[in-house]
Symmetry: C4
Subunit: 197 residues, 4 copies
């Protein structure tokens, strides 16, 4: 994504700092994004589920969100779907779009941490789009955090970016569009590198 | 839930008083809640149903509402789902989440009364989240009453708490969050005990 | 419904008059309602349909609308569902609730007229809840006309009553509630009888 | 549609001009419309899809949009559905309504261009209703362009007409109603012919 980062000299940043806790846009972090973790339940898929009498179960997703994730990945950002519970619906889309997916995450922070380390990334290079209180810990650690406008009020309070759209209604796309746009503005400046160090 | 109540010396309150008729927040009642009855049709599940040509039938629920009920139960509050009609969809979620469910309730007040007595609770310790006119009687008896913002206008008029959200869109969660929050503030004060006596 | 009408001396009214064309509330007509015709497509059922790849087809209805129709019928008003096209979904609910249903109505006015004559009713005693331009003719003939707030703009312009709710989201209930309420106010006065003559 | 055009002396217009780039109503173009291309994904069908665990897949359409397209075709305008991806749901409705449908369009402009040439039409006689960034190129070439109010922000910026309704919620109908209305006003005047030349 950034020419000077191609050999992966990951941005160093004290692991214990709560980076995302500074609400608001911090474009240096947005431009450093290399991994975006997304709560499948409420962000990519609607928080609402359709339930049938024989256990059938359907979830909504938005075609523009899916296109947004595709465009984001083309800029070199990796995408990880997380979910606290198991829902076979998530598999269907993840397989079709070849998204990495971790379900049944009792401890999302732990799951995300090990994935991040596998990729050799610092927390500053990770973004998180959350929906409910179980996402708060992750959102506090990552360089960028975002959520939809129908998220839990606590999640909205700590997110760097609150979309104007609801989950599975374009919120994810609004966020990815801005990341893609920032990446078009060329490699980060020295000041920007400074900020996330 | 309340240390001094662990041996179930249920709060006594004249059974014939219409407690809930006082609209508005009455935090003493909220903190005493031991049983929450919820109309499945329009509160936990959407009032809208999807109907197929061969009798298929689907209902929407919201994952954040379900998480809210789980958090409420962890504080010791019991949950009872009521519904005037029979809908096999309600069974599916009730079984998965181990909710008590009473369907085909021709007289909801009667049903709730016998459940309440089984648990040895006074009306002041019962809460009710309603949706349509058939819930009005119950809402008038219980210590706390709540509804979603797309409920029947009569239901909204008598509810202690009207959510900012629609049914199956987070209304139940908004209510349970506040009960959980109040319970964190410690056992009720003497004045609060006074109020509900 | 009205004690003095029990032996069906139907209100006489010149058949050729366009009664409903006077937009606004005309409570005399509301109180005389004996047959309510409803466009199934867009009023009782959502104008939106869910389409599957193998031709599956689902429609939404609202439980409060169904309850409203039941309460209306208890006051003695008959209900007729009309639809321009054939949709097996409409049958399912009509059978469960024992609604009269006419599908494939190429000429809704003709269909409604013959049904009205079978019941020995004048146009003044018929109400119509419409959704699209094909309902305009009927709405112009009947004593009362209503529609949801997501109806065609022409339909909204000519309706006596435009609901604050969308189709299959409570519009029908808002209308039936008012008819039921008016009926509780007792038999119509002489002046009211005058108005619809 | 226009008496003087019955022998197809297609309006000539420099193919390389970006006609649609002039945002706003240009009634001369609206009246010349002979082919309307519609992105099936997000305009006729909702951008949201319902996904089941076994790959089931449902999409919403609006009955009033379908009626609108029928009325438009009765005035002599042809309709072409385009979609970037393959979705068997689109086939179902297209077959029932006998819409021309092109799926898997990697290059929508190319697809539309060849269809337009087959019909012997100039770009000025083509309209386009788009939803996402992949529609922008087409919208810039056609005589008229429109979109729903939940389209991509870039699409909304360049559209001649932005509906007050969302995709699959009446946006297409609002547009087709206006084209039909304009066609009723009789053949285009000399000035109007001038404008599109």
């Amino acid at each position: 994504m950034f020419p000077e980062d191609s050999d992966e000299p990951s941005v160093e940043l004290g692991e214990e700092t709560e980076i995302g806790s500074a609400v608001g846009y911090n474009f240096a972090h947005w431009k450093c994004l290399k991994l975006l973790a997304v709560n499948a339940d409420g962000v990519l898929f609607s928080p609402e589920a359709l339930q049938g009498p024989a256990g059938q179960h359907l979830r909504t997703y938005h075609s523009r969100d899916v296109v947004g994730v595709r465009m984001l990945r083309r800029t070199g950002v990796q995408v990880l779907l997380l979910s606290e519970e198991e829902d076979p619906v998530f598999n269907t889309l993840a397989e079709r779009e070849k998204f990495s997916l971790r379900q049944n995450c009792k401890d999302k922070l732990d799951e995300l941490d090990s994935y991040r380390q596998q990729l050799g990334l610092s927390w500053a290079e990770v973004g998180y789009v959350g929906h409910d209180v179980s996402d708060v810990e992750c959102m506090r650690r990552t360089g960028v955090s975002a959520c939809a406008d129908d998220s839990d009020s606590m999640v909205q309070r700590i997110a760097c970016f609150v979309s104007h759209y609801a989950g599975a209604k374009g919120a994810l796309r609004e966020f990815t569009d801005q990341v893609v746009e920032l990446n078009k503005m060329g490699p980060k400046t020295d000041t920007e590198v400074e900020v996330i160090r």
